[in-house]
Symmetry: C2
């Protein structure tokens, strides 16, 4: 972990660069897969699965028997943990349900805004050696609370064709009964266009590899919404001498174990503290099974130290410019700092709020904007599963009171038919 | 306007098709412009403007003198109308400001969700013969209410190099003082990447031609958020015999005058009523200056009649499947219908709520999802200018209460460093 002391503002941009992912264009490969599934439906899904994975299930939809088997395989203590996490996530997301807004803006002119669930949503959960069943909770729980009618989930089968029991169990715990053994760009295509067995959805959520995220990006301009742009995971820790270097190091490392392209940044105001954290990182990482991944991602990671009178302000400015997915504030008066943060996905306050609390069980969502997208995007929340429809109801006198305003504006924009739609009502058109 | 009586459900998709825009790919042209501006800044903007428009202003930023001149040119009655419309839009959007959500999910575990304004937003307003200054109100008013620090606006100069006075006046009325005489894909590039004179923004809003919307789409996967996907405008009117055929015809025509690719659909339950509307459309359109445009868009428009006992339910299903940008409900018990609508941008209730009321002055926003995107996207509202950040604060006992849950889940996902970030705190790491 490089350490940088009091960088000039001109250097900040460079210090905030994320790990550049490989730039080779896979759009044409993904476009081919999307088109194949769009045209060929289930038959194409089967062909692609055989081509890429050397096998294809008889039925993409996971059977009731497979669910029952999965439930028997999940450890009892994990079931308890999942229930606990689910309860907190439910409680916090239910509290986010938006109220109805109704305003009489003037006599006889009533405006209403109401949130309505997105009808059909599709969740994607990647496979791999350690499948992230926690993401099932983070997507399925708010989908159910929002009231989405149809929630389906695609996740790839394992090498031997079986499904990860924890993912199936968690899906069922959340009330998702339609799970498809499908991965990759072809899973995204199936949910975007629909096939004989996979229903077309209105919005697709969830992380994935480059093929999955490129497919999501491509269908999002074409036919179906997506949760947010993708990028490697990241954490920023803001710390002063009230923080514990061992805790800070543990937080940086928990980010670094995600993947080789992860990034952890420590912002602090004391070089000696920084050195202590660095030593702790070196020390703790030796015990971690994912040490090889961590050593790679530490190369993308750095420590920035701002000393002097303006250090607190500089740290805040730097953090806002970075716009971190996760931001841990282990400093005195942490809420003073938090209130000045304008861009972050999720913020962790104080010495006892590690990122892993939010990753699993505090109740907040862990599907968050990366790569600086926190400047413009929210993390997944209850709104992500709803749309806000507006309604207006004008009475005859209500429209009359606004008629001159509307007609004047419409004529000035050259839209005579717009003006006429009001004028004809004011005349009382013949019925 | 074709009339279709009791179509079978298998026919619905075809009847719901929007006007297909030209499919030739302009991505490579737009990619060239984006890259040119990204690399060359203001110099590139000047070169592109000279190449495309044969002229480039000395200074892209509109001067105070130009604002003053513009204000002198706007008709006094239009100023009054703009103030009225602005007041209603302000009142309804201010009422939408989201509340802070704070929940203690369990002892010592506090979760908070707070909306924070997007710092820098860019608005694009197209040029053309009749520039749509009303869109300035629809974008600038909520941006200001949300509290965005920096709001800039790009709009192309007219043929003679001058700016549309109504656009400048409305921008100033809304408190936007940085307006740039810039149009096309190069304007989007300037706001996405920043140049010497145009600031980089976090999110870009507003309609535009194919070059503008393609540029928005392309930068949205790269660097900056956008309001929503683009498509031609559309209205659906649901009517029964309680509606007035002349009013309905006027509403259909007001949609049709927008552009040749606009679409207007009438859903009703009586063939005789449908014929009356059709006759009114023919009759009213003769008086309208935009008759040539209307005659084109009427070719994309149609009347669907569902008769029989289930007509009300069929109309609702058809409307939900279509997912209209604007939906006018001129039927008995209109709120019964409205409450069953799951996909629409903005809904107009009753016989005195024409679309033009919402286009200008009722207080709702007129920047709405088209082409069926209403199934997954909201129209522009106060949320569009904010992000929701989550916060969590756990106390030592709070984390202790969750530690087993977190550690169990982290280990089951193979993420030991995540588990360690909790375990080290429970041991009380040496400081």
């Amino acid at each position: 972990m490089d350490l940088c002391l009091n960088p000039e503002r001109e250097q900040w941009r460079e210090l905030q660069l994320r790990c550049q992912s490989r730039q080779d264009d896979i759009r044409h490969i993904v476009a081919g897969i999307l088109d194949e599934v769009k045209q060929g439906g289930d038959r194409a899904l089967r062909e692609i699965s055989l081509r890429i994975d050397d096998s294809a299930p008889d039925d993409f939809q996971v059977s009731d028997a497979a669910f029952a088997e999965a439930a028997a395989k999940v450890a009892p203590e994990l079931k308890v943990a999942l229930e606990n996490a689910k309860r907190n996530i439910e409680m916090f997301h239910a509290a986010q349900l938006p109220r109805k807004v109704a305003v009489d803006v003037q006599h006889g002119v009533r405006c209403i805004q109401k949130a309505v669930p997105i009808q059909r949503v599709g969740l994607y959960i990647p496979g791999g050696k350690a499948p992230l069943f926690s993401t099932v909770l983070m997507l399925a729980v708010p989908a159910k609370i929002a009231g989405c009618c149809e929630v389906v989930l695609c996740t790839p089968p394992r090498k031997d064709g079986s499904m990860c029991p924890e993912i199936l169990f968690t899906a069922q715990l959340c009330g998702i009964d339609r799970v498809y053994a499908l991965g990759g760009a072809q899973a995204i295509a199936a949910m975007a266009y629909g096939t004989e067995s996979v229903p077309k959805v209105d919005k697709i959520f969830g992380p994935g590899n480059r093929f999955v995220t490129t497919a999501k990006q491509m269908v999002s301009t074409d036919t179906v919404a997506i949760d947010m742009p993708a990028g490697p995971s990241e954490v920023m820790v803001m710390a002063d001498n009230s923080a514990n270097p061992a805790y800070v190091a543990a937080d940086l490392l928990s980010q670094c174990e995600h993947g080789e392209d992860s990034q952890a940044i420590l912002l602090c105001n004391d070089a000696e503290f920084a050195e202590k954290v660095k030593a702790e990182v070196e020390n703790q990482k030796e015990q971690l099974p994912r040490k090889p991944i961590i050593e790679e991602s530490l190369k993308n990671s750095r420590i920035i130290v701002f000393t002097g009178e303006e250090s607190r302000e500089q740290m805040i400015d730097f953090a806002n410019q970075y716009g971190s997915e996760h931001l841990i504030i282990s400093m005195q008066r942490p809420w003073d700092i938090a209130d000045q943060i304008t861009a972050a996905g999720s913020i962790f306050i104080g010495n006892y709020s590690p990122e892993s609390a939010g990753d699993y069980a505090s109740g907040t969502n862990h599907t968050l904007p990366t790569s600086g997208w926190a400047r413009s995007h929210s993390g997944v929340n209850i709104d992500s599963f709803m749309r806000k429809i507006t309604y207006q109801q004008l009475s005859d006198p209500g429209l009359r009171g606004l008629s001159e305003t509307i007609i004047t504006m419409a004529l000035a924009e050259g839209l005579h038919a717009h003006a006429n739609a009001v004028a004809i009502r004011m005349k009382g058109g013949s019925k």
